[in-house]
């Protein structure tokens, strides 16, 4: 493909991929965060153990996590149509992306929250802190670094999913790679999209790690 065609195509691809990744990550966190907090609270050793609630949430998360993304995408097409009005393109792809990523994100957050030293939580309880105070003033701030690392990994995963969605009508770099590189044998386009995906992943990783290091107060100076 000539370079003057390649550049606008790729710019569009990068834009759509970033759009899908960031919006999906955002929504996945909006759903995953409360889910993770509920999991941590209702766990057998949590602050408010609720065996039934915990088991149901735990099972739901596991079920969604075990469906391969492409299959999930097909399964939720009716829902995607309902929300986005159509089942193809970048905006529509956000629906299955969020559904696939939210349980994944919930597990990432859950594991970060569980890393917080139980002694610190006990200390807060001994001071008379309420459960919401313990969550928002102790557990989440103490887990901050780990949460940022988790967010970095999660958005990387979502970036990968978004590229995969290109196979069945999702937008962005994935779609470009499939329709030009695979369907039309334009290997040069395929290579460029792969390189751009690698670069995007690196950028996400570098930014995430930088922020987590900058905000962590546990490192001795």
């Amino acid at each position: 493909m000539p370079i003057e065609k390649m550049i606008p195509l790729m710019l569009e691809g990068v834009r759509d991929t970033l759009y899908m990744t960031t919006v999906s990550t955002l929504f996945a966190y909006l759903l995953g965060m409360p889910l993770a907090i509920l999991l941590v609270l209702t766990a057998p050793k949590g602050l408010r153990p609720q065996a039934v609630v915990y088991r149901v949430l735990d099972a739901v998360v596991n079920i969604f996590r075990s469906i391969p993304f492409l299959i999930l995408m097909i399964l939720v097409i009716p829902l995607t149509r309902l929300i986005a009005g159509k089942a193809y393109g970048s905006t529509a792809t956000i629906v299955p992306l969020v559904i696939a990523a939210a349980p994944y994100v919930a597990r990432m957050i859950e594991s970060s929250l569980l890393e917080v030293d139980p002694g610190v939580i006990e200390a807060a309880q001994s001071m008379g802190a309420s459960v919401p105070e313990i969550i928002f003033k102790v557990i989440i701030p103490e887990a901050k670094t780990s949460l940022i690392v988790g967010a970095t990994i999660s958005s990387g995963t979502i970036l990968g999913y978004s590229a995969m969605s290109g196979a069945i009508g999702g937008g962005g770099l994935g779609q470009i790679a499939i329709s030009y590189g695979y369907n039309r044998y334009q290997t040069d386009v395929l290579f460029v999209t792969v390189i751009l995906l690698i670069v995007l992943m690196q950028v996400i990783q570098i930014i995430g790690m930088y922020i987590s290091r900058k905000t962590d107060k546990r490192i001795r100076e």
């Binding site: 030293d117 002694g119 200390a123 001071m127 701030p141 103490e142 546990r218």
Partner: protein, 335 residues
Amino acid sequence: MPLIELRHLTKTFKGKTQTVEALRDINLCIDQGDIYGIIGMSGAGKSTLVRCINYLERPTSGNVIIDGKDLSTLTPKALRQLRQQVSMIFQHFNLLQQRDVRGNIAFAMEIAGAKRADIDKRIDELLELVGLTERQHNYPSQLSGGQQQRVAIARALATNPKIILCDEATSALDPTTTTSILNLLREINQKLGITIVIITHEMSVVESICTHVAIIDNGSLAEHGTVESVFSQPKSKAAKKLIFRKTGADGGIIGDRMIRIVFEGNASSEPVIASLVLECHVSVNIMYADTRDVGGKAFGQMILQLPEDKLQQEKIIYYLQSKGLRVEEVDGDAH
């Protein structure tokens, strides 16, 4: 009226296969201004006991009465408010790692609903008290263990509590730091009149600052009273075991006749053993000797291994008793 009263306290942990009785029928009164040591071997139930005092652990039965309030009758909200009056410090300090020294102290006051301006003023006072003004913007990871425990103490004092519970607060510290933390606690007790309950497995902690001591053994209260009375005349097996733990005279005691003599007050300054040897023409083997300064009063004790000869043994005991010392037989209980 005692400030803290424990009535028939029991705590049972039910596991899938077995039930553990962590506490059995504990009755204890702690008065305002006491520094009350609760000592026991590890696994004796003392950590569970201290957590029952602020209801971090709910007792299986029995009552905890603090300042006239029975904790079992309190609503969750009232219990949280009461906890602002009963602070706690921990073996591993349990500071917020992502907040600096000021932030950690502020945390306790935020929970108590204090105003920002009051918080800042109070933090300045507390930093002065615990001697960490220069470290106020450091994070816990930048502080030594002793400094971190000082922050924890400042945090515990932030809400002007009546009681401070210490759960093995010096066990993770070296001896010098332990002494300085204990001195700080004594200062807080004397200056501010705060009642302190200290959970420890170290006899030296009790000796150095406690006014009263309770000995917990296998979930039960073995013995309690003032430190002087318990240390000079331990009655229970558990108390003797703890007090003599440092003898290092384990081997060789059994079989031979041993006596323990207790010095109280003036007697400890007289060269009794030297006189004994000179006047009775006998030899004794000193297995263990220790003089302690407890609450300003000196007392000491010594374990002597007596000669084989029965007559000589009687002579020695008679001589010591005539000097006004208490003489006890030492048997297998002593270690």
